[in-house]
């Protein structure tokens, strides 16, 4: 025993192995774990650059977080075009408040929508921080690298555009926020944000490729034309009609001369699965059929959209959806006699197709939005059967060529270029006619219009309403035209007593914007919008 002790228990024998042990164990503890990719090691090949851009598109597709956050809940439902719908007034209560001008600052829809856009912005910022410094390689040549940067800039502009027209000025973030010290950022003014959007778009427009240059696997990415259309749109929002007309012209030239874009022969082709990313498509949010998409618990885990199930009729005969975004009588009546677009936009179910009137007729409206219901996308033009219980594959149309033409018409008319304005307007009406020349006469020969700038602008605005109805544009158009109060008051006056009972008054100077979410106000010490 003693010998054992002498040999092994002396301090010296233990000291060296102990020291070695401690030294080596530090390495052992700090070794990078399995399955972990650290940021510093990531941006090393062209493929990773592409991946980082792909991820920047994803928040566009999020239409669910803790509540459904599709943009049309604002663009259509808040306007005179549609009522919220759903099972009853409590269904999507956040939207009920918004459509009736009773929005609280703790509105969950607005918070989720706000945060989703900024996630898109931070993803774009990450691309813009890392990719420009990368070396080109066999996968990413200089041209592709340019395009990727252009895509990120386009996306950042689009996300800011989605924010600014709902909330007004928001914090302007053009860098990756790595440290908590940079968390506090002030609200920029609405003008600064629009300028920021324009700057991004101008750069993106230079770098992006024309639509035809993309391979078929890359369909759906931002294009030069998309950047031009967004420039046209943004300049309209800032009432810079000269620049708007300029970019409109550029885009129209791309379409008419280079053949990059064209109106679909049939209006309805824009709203079918087969017609996705078609000739008229300038930018769409891409969705696919995937039964593996979760219900929404994955928080933004989207591969399909909720728009289909949300807008479909609640009657099982018509697909058993949830019946949101119900067109108003006001919209229904605003179509000219015989306008074929009405019945491609509004589904008026027969009595036979209504199973439970108390749930399918919402505050007097029985109509359904036909554009996202996929009512004819199944075999033999039957109702498309969703292979996921609540998600569908139809893309969300952000900008299509008809929209661009009408924006161009608007810009031209505002600049007194009535000829080009009428040309663009007529182009849209001509397609709407579907070859039946007895319908939809050319401007000014309908609705009592005279051949004046004022009436032309009126006619273009009305055309926008019916051509783009139920695609989420109306509310934002009313606000930028500055006629929201006038239109909404008139609409309310003619609504059913039942619907009217729920509506609060529109207050000019307040209700054009929605409140910055209360959480953001407190987390970021932001100022609140007027009136909230």
């Amino acid at each position: 025993m003693n010998r054992f002790m002498k040999k092994y228990m002396s301090i010296k024998t233990w000291l060296i192995p102990m020291a070695l042990l401690l030294l080596s164990c530090n390495d052992w503890l700090t070794e990078t774990g399995p399955g972990v990719t650290e940021l510093d090691d990531f941006f090393s090949s062209g493929n990773t650059a592409i991946q980082s851009v792909n991820a920047a598109y994803v928040p566009l597709a999020w239409d669910y977080n803790s509540t459904f956050i599709n943009e049309w809940f604002i663009g259509d439902v808040v306007s005179d075009d549609a009522l919220k719908g759903g099972q009853n007034i409590n269904d999507m209560a956040d939207v009920y408040d918004m459509e009736n001008f009773k929005t609280n600052t703790n509105n969950g829809f607005l918070l989720d929508f706000y945060r989703a856009q900024y996630q898109g912005i931070s993803r774009s910022n990450l691309v813009l921080q890392e990719v420009p410094n990368m070396q080109t390689d066999t996968i990413m040549d200089a041209d592709l690298k340019d395009r990727l940067v252009g895509e990120a800039k386009f996306l950042r502009a689009l996300y800011y555009f989605r924010l600014v027209r709902v909330f007004g000025g928001v914090p302007k973030i053009d860098f990756v926020i790595l440290s908590g010290n940079q968390w506090k950022q002030p609200r920029a003014s609405m003008e600064e944000i629009y300028q920021f959007i324009i700057d991004d778009l101008l750069d993106a427009e230079k770098k992006l490729w024309v639509k035809s240059k993309y391979s078929s696997e890359d369909l759906g990415r931002a294009t030069k034309g998309a950047a031009q259309a967004m420039l046209l749109k943004t300049y309209l929002y800032t009432h810079n009609f000269v620049e708007a007309e300029k970019w409109g012209k550029t885009l129209v030239k791309q379409a008419e001369e280079d053949g990059e874009y064209n109106l679909c022969p049939n209006y309805k082709d824009n709203f079918t699965l087969a017609g996705e990313n078609g000739p008229e498509s300038i930018f769409e949010i891409q969705y696919m059929a995937d039964p593996q998409s979760d219900y929404g618990e994955g928080f933004g885990f989207s591969r399909g959209t909720f728009s289909v199930i949300l807008t479909r009729s609640r009657a099982s005969k018509l697909g058993g959806g949830w019946g949101f975004n119900k067109p108003t009588q006001n919209l229904y009546d605003s179509y000219e006699t015989g306008d074929p677009r009405r019945d491609e936009t509004i589904l008026n179910p027969s009595d036979e197709d209504i199973e439970t009137p108390s749930q399918e007729i919402y505050l007097g409206s029985r109509y359904l939005n036909k554009k996202y219901g996929m009512y004819e996308d199944g075999p033999g033009n039957t109702i498309f059967k969703l292979d996921h219980e609540s998600r569908g594959p139809i893309n969300t149309k952000v900008i299509r060529y008809a929209d661009a033409l009408l924006m161009y018409a608007e810009a031209c008319a505002e600049n007194n270029n009535l000829t080009d304005a009428k040309w663009a307007l007529e182009k849209v009406r001509e397609r709407a006619r579907g070859g039946d020349n007895s319908l939809l006469p050319s401007f000014p020969n309908y609705s009592g219009y005279t051949d004046s700038k004022a009436d032309l602008i009126k006619a273009i605005r009305q055309e926008r309403r019916v051509e783009l109805a139920m695609e989420g544009h109306r509310w934002f158009d009313l606000c930028r035209w500055g006629i929201a109060k006038q239109v909404m008051d008139a609409y309310k006056a003619n609504e059913s007593e039942e619907a009217k009972g729920h509506m609060a008054d529109f207050i000019s100077g307040t209700h054009e914007l929605f409140p910055i979410p209360a959480d953001e106000i407190s987390l970021g010490s932001l100022t609140q919008n007027n009136g909230y």
Binding site: G35, L39, S122, P171, I177, S216, A504
Partner: protein, 1039 residues
């Protein structure tokens, strides 16, 4: 033969002659102070005959010669004296040194109980075994001062929430469990019958030896080991019983429900229709309509239709099972020789749930051995194998219909569970026997569909064990090397059938998901301990290192459309559609620690303990090492010579301790800034004409790289004392526990673009409290059969407060706020003041609005305008209480009389609040849930005394005190009556002890809470799985 008979006769006669009664008298005195001892039990061995010594220590008893008298008393060594021919027997009883030398585990060693310097509570294993619980976490409820247990869910197999000395952090605040030296974070696998001792280390000086894992307290468990006494013992324990729900909500029946929701909806045409056409026509027109999922309803034109008006379904009765069975069997053998010991056990536990579709069963095998291989070398092992399987009923989810119970509440009372024979829909399809579609709230799954079409199975196989060697190279010196492995393979499988009962309650294809999860922790530990006694100085020095690695790996997939969906085909290989087989995931953390402890005692009076531990962990890349010191002093005042004269004071010890400990329980890579590239979730996007997913990668969350463990600093002052020969013993502790650098899930402003919240060490939390444990044991002389009883109680007061955020953001939870100056997870909302009786009253109260814009009208909830600014907004929200009780208590009463034993155990909490979201739903418009009968008293212009505001208005459901209820309760947790069959009878069957008992759990609950059960984990009750009332019979048999 005759001779033999005669001889036998003679022998009996002899016996008879010998067996004359004599009276023995005497005085019992104590050995230490030579004073007479009253109340000593004097019993004739093997009989029920006995008496007690009186106040002067004198006794008198009638016995027969050769009887053996047993003198026993609490805290005194039992003495046996055989009666010969003397008639006076004076007895001097020695104090029971065994009690003083009782050894308790303290982590990496043990110490005599009398030498403890920290706050350590022991729980007797027989107490833990009284409650019919799968795990000892639930059985600990109410047993120890300062240990708060919330069973949380009545789901069989669910782990309870155990908190020691309050809730120290918003992160994982669960204690760690150390079973035979293996550190674990849950013990639901352990059968309480296998436990020999349980020690709870509460203060920092006791837990600091566990360093970065000690902050939330440590529960040390030793399983039963063999004894080296050359004997072997066999024991068999079993119980079986039935469980039932003890509470039910009072909901409206079909007709009243229909009329109430029609009245609430307040559409004249609808009520006219109902009044004129009747229930069936109304249901048809306003609910089922022409949908093919409902049978054609009986009407004038369809006299053979389905008569919904005749249906009255009590959905609560349907989903709660009656007499759910619970059973437990435990067979053990242990023993040993001088050199080897062993303990082997096998047990089976099986519990059905009181809610349909939930159950749990578990098999546990255990083997502990030691072997002294050389004089200086002992080797041994402890090994457990556990296999458990359960089915989850889902629990407490905000979504109506996400659990069986909440789905049951969402179904209308006129909906049958299944359509009766002959039900035919409008297309002529036969619906007979089919599970019904919910007709009132359509977006809900029928609970029977959940159970019958969904087949979840969660299986766990777990191996926990260690192998150790102990070398004693010299006197006082012990080296122990220990390798342990905790390996768990979890198999989760879910098969859902294809069916269609409605557009919501359907699955177009059958679906299978299947995954395996493997968790393993391997640990290598080397501990050197040295004891040295020098005159009055006694030292124990312990030092050592531990290294461990945790690995997690999971793999799983899913698929649809199994062509022949019988159970034997529920495998991914059989799926033909939508196969997703590629998901796997991995995680690893490592830890290396150096630890040491010095225990010093001077003259048995002054005790000091110092510990130090350094933990290095892979979790914190920029703060790998953490250092955790502690110190404690104790003074055994009663050992001072000047205290010796004080009568009736058995012992008195003062303790003071301080320590800094850590909490490192956060995810392994929370502080690594990583690119997330493992979509499709969050990062993959659809491109291309063929619409295919393109891989994406981004940073989901910009984390805080400098994060580290949370530090808890705790000071504890305690006193232990015993009075009247240990008839009364007590422990009182006062502590202040400060959590510093609490990792707060700091919510960044939206513009940072984080998917998840980043963590930062910012918050501080203070828990302070007082804990009192009292025990009283005594024996009462009433007759020849003495009555022994004991009463023990414990109570703890805890005050919990978030003391600083230090730049961190407040945390908004589910109706809660965690903010400076509030308890953690404080319910945050408006104070409900009643109902506006008129529009004018609303305008007057909320004068910042105009008549057209005010969101409140007559019949709406009146909230307190806290800052009197004429509007209701965030500034008016206030503290509505929090879900944690500030008072926890338990009272145990035990009585032994003759062969009977009785135990009555009460447990309760006070001061906690529950947000009753079930009531919120059942006092709503009736669109998503059945209505409570309290809705009879809804406010209306006709019923201005009504106490429920307009259920159709969203503003009336803002978080307010209206739905915050007291969660206080007092529960008769357990009552048990046992009978031990007299040894004289059982000996014939070679049974040493045969005890049978009747037991009832949760027999009474006194509470004002109006939901199912006041034990709610998160504080918000969405239809939590309630605790059940259990009746059992059981037996303990020792051979």
């Amino acid at each position: 033969m005759k001779k033999l008979a005669l001889l036998t006769c003679c022998l009996f006669l002899w016996q008879f002659l010998l067996a004359q009664e004599i009276v023995i008298t005497g005085i019992v005195t104590a050995a230490d102070d030579k004073l007479p001892l009253p109340g000593v039990t004097i019993q004739v061995k093997g009989t029920n005959l006995g008496t007690l010594s009186d106040i002067n220590g004198q006794y008198s008893i009638s016995v027969e010669r050769k009887d053996v008298l047993v003198f026993s008393f609490v805290g005194i060594k039992t003495q046996e004296i055989t009666v010969t021919d003397q008639s006076v027997i004076n007895v001097v009883l020695e104090p029971d040194v065994k009690m003083l030398t009782e050894v308790v585990a303290i982590g990496y060693g043990s110490v005599r109980k009398s030498d403890l310097t920290g706050s350590v509570a022991s729980v007797k294993s027989e107490q833990l075994q009284k409650t019919p619980a799968a795990g000892i976490d639930q059985a600990l409820q109410g047993r120890v001062a300062g240990v708060s247990v919330n069973a949380g869910s009545g789901q069989p197999g669910a782990a309870a929430e155990v908190r020691i000395r309050g809730i120290g952090t918003v992160n994982n605040s669960a204690p760690i469990y150390v079973v035979d030296g293996v550190i674990l974070d849950n013990i639901s696998f352990l059968n309480p019958n296998d436990i020999e001792s349980t020690e709870i280390l509460k203060d920092a000086s006791a837990t600091a030896i566990y360093g970065s894992r000690g902050a939330n307290g440590v529960i040390l468990i030793s399983t039963i080991k063999g004894k080296n006494d050359g004997k072997s013992r066999i024991s068999f324990n079993t119980y079986a019983g039935v469980q039932n729900r003890w509470n039910k909500l009072d909901l409206m029946q079909s007709k009243e429900f229909a009329e109430t929701i029609i009245a609430l909806n307040n559409v004249q045409s609808e009520s006219n229709f109902y009044n004129n056409r009747g229930f069936n026509d109304w249901l048809s027109a306003y609910r089922t309509g022409n949908s093919p999922y409902y049978p054609v309803i009986k009407s004038n034109s369809n006299p053979d239709g389905y008569d919904y008006s005749a249906i009255e379904t009590d959905w609560q009765d349907e989903v709660f099972q009656k007499n759910a069975f619970i059973q437990n069997y435990h067979l053990a053998i242990d023993g040993g020789t001088e050199k080897s010991t062993y303990a082997i056990s096998a047990s089976f536990f099986d519990q059905e749930g009181t809610i349909m579709g939930s159950d749990y069963s578990r098999i546990t095998l255990r083997l502990n051995t030691t072997h002294q291989a050389r004089k200086w070398l002992t080797v041994g092992q402890n090994l457990s194998l556990i296999s458990s399987e359960g089915r989850n009923a889902m629990n407490n989810n905000a979504s109506p219909g996400a659990s069986i119970l909440s789905a049951a509440l969402a179904m209308a009372p006129w909906d049958p569970t299944h359509y009766a024979e002959g039900a035919v829909n409008r297309n002529g399809e036969d619906l007979s026997g089919q599970i019904s579609a919910s007709s009132n709230f359509r977006n809900v799954t029928n609970p029977f569909s959940m159970v019958e079409n969904s087949n979840p199975s969660d299986k766990v196989e777990r191996w926990i064990g260690n192998v150790f060697l102990e070398i004693k190279p010299a006197k006082g010196l012990t080296f122990r090397s220990d390798v342990s492995l905790d390996l768990s393979n979890n198999r989760n499988k879910l098969f859902k059938s294809a069916y269609r009962y409605s557009d919501y309650d359907k699955a177009d294809k059958n679906f299978l998901s299947s995954s395996m999860h493997r968790y393993s922790t391997i640990k290598y530990e080397n501990i050197l301990t040295y004891n040295l006694d020098l005159n009055k100085h006694s030292f124990t020095v312990m030092g050592g290192t531990t290294a461990e690695e945790y690995n997690y790996y999971t793999m799983g997939g899913s698929g649809a459309s199994i062509l022949n969906p019988k159970e034997t085909n529920w495998y991914l290989s059989q799926t033909t559609d939508n196969r997703s087989l590629s998901s796997d995931n991995v995680d690893r953390t490592r830890m290396f620690s150096v630890l040491g402890r010095l225990h010093y005692a001077f003259g048995n009076r002054y005790l000091a303990t110092m510990t130090y531990r350094a933990d290095g962990t892979s979790k914190f890349p920029e703060n790998t090492w953490g250092y955790f010191p502690s110190a404690a002093l104790a003074w055994r005042v009663s050992e001072e010579s000047w205290m010796k004269g004080i009568r009736n004071l058995d012992y008195l010890k003062l303790r003071i301790g301080w320590g800094q400990i850590g909490n490192e329980k956060i995810g392994g890579d929370s502080f690594l800034l990583t690119m997330f590239n493992t979509g499709p979730t969050f990062v993959d996007y659809v491109f291309g004409a063929n619409q295919e997913l393109a891989n994406g990668a981004t940073v989901l969350t910009y984390i805080n790289k400098g994060g580290r463990w949370e530090v808890t600093e705790q000071v504890d002052v305690g006193v232990d004392f015993g009075l009247f020969n240990s008839r009364i013993s007590a422990t009182v502790d006062v502590f202040v526990r400060d959590t510093k650098e609490m990792l707060l899930n700091v919510k960044a402003p939206g513009h940072v673009g984080n998917r998840y919240d980043a963590l930062a060490n910012v918050g501080t939390v203070r828990n302070k409290g007082i804990e009192i444990s009292l025990e009283h044991m005594n024996t009462i002389i009433t007759s020849a059969n003495p009555l022994k009883y004991n009463i023990s109680g414990n109570v703890s007061f805890i005050d919990n407060e978030l003391t600083a955020l230090n730049g961190g953001a407040r945390i908004y939870g589910d109706r809660t706020l965690t903010d400076k100056g509030l308890g953690l997870y404080t319910f945050w909302g408006y104070e409900y003041e009643g109902i506006y009786q008129t529009d004018e009253e609303a305008l007057e109260h909320l004068y910042a609005h105009t008549a057209s814009s005010i969101p409140y009208k007559a019949g709406d909830a009146r909230y307190r305008d806290l800052n009197s600014d004429g509007k209701i907004d965030d500034e008016d929200k206030m503290d509505l209480g929090n879900p944690f009780p500030w008072l926890n208590y338990g009272i145990n009463l035990g009585v032994d009389w003759m062969n009977f034993d009785l135990q009555v155990f009460f447990q309760g909490v006070y001061g906690n609040k529950i947000y009753n979201a079930v009531r919120e739903r059942t006092e709503g418009p009736g669109t998503e849930a059945s209505l409570s009968t309290s809705m009879r008293n809804v406010w209306s212009k006709e019923n201005t005394n009504g106490d429920i505001p307009n259920p159709y208005k969203a503003v009336n459901f803002l978080t307010s005190s209206r739905f915050v209820e007291s969660g206080a309760y007092l529960r008769l947790k357990n009552i048990q009556l046992g009978y031990t069959i007299p040894a004289a009878i059982t000996k014939r069957a070679e049974i040493d002890r045969f005890r049978i008992y009747l037991s009832a759990s949760n027999l009474f609950t006194f509470t004002n809470y109006t939901g199912y059960d006041p034990e709610i984990r998160s504080g918000v009750d969405y239809g939590n799985y309630p605790q059940s009332r259990t009746f059992m019979v059981g037996a303990n048999i020792n051979f």
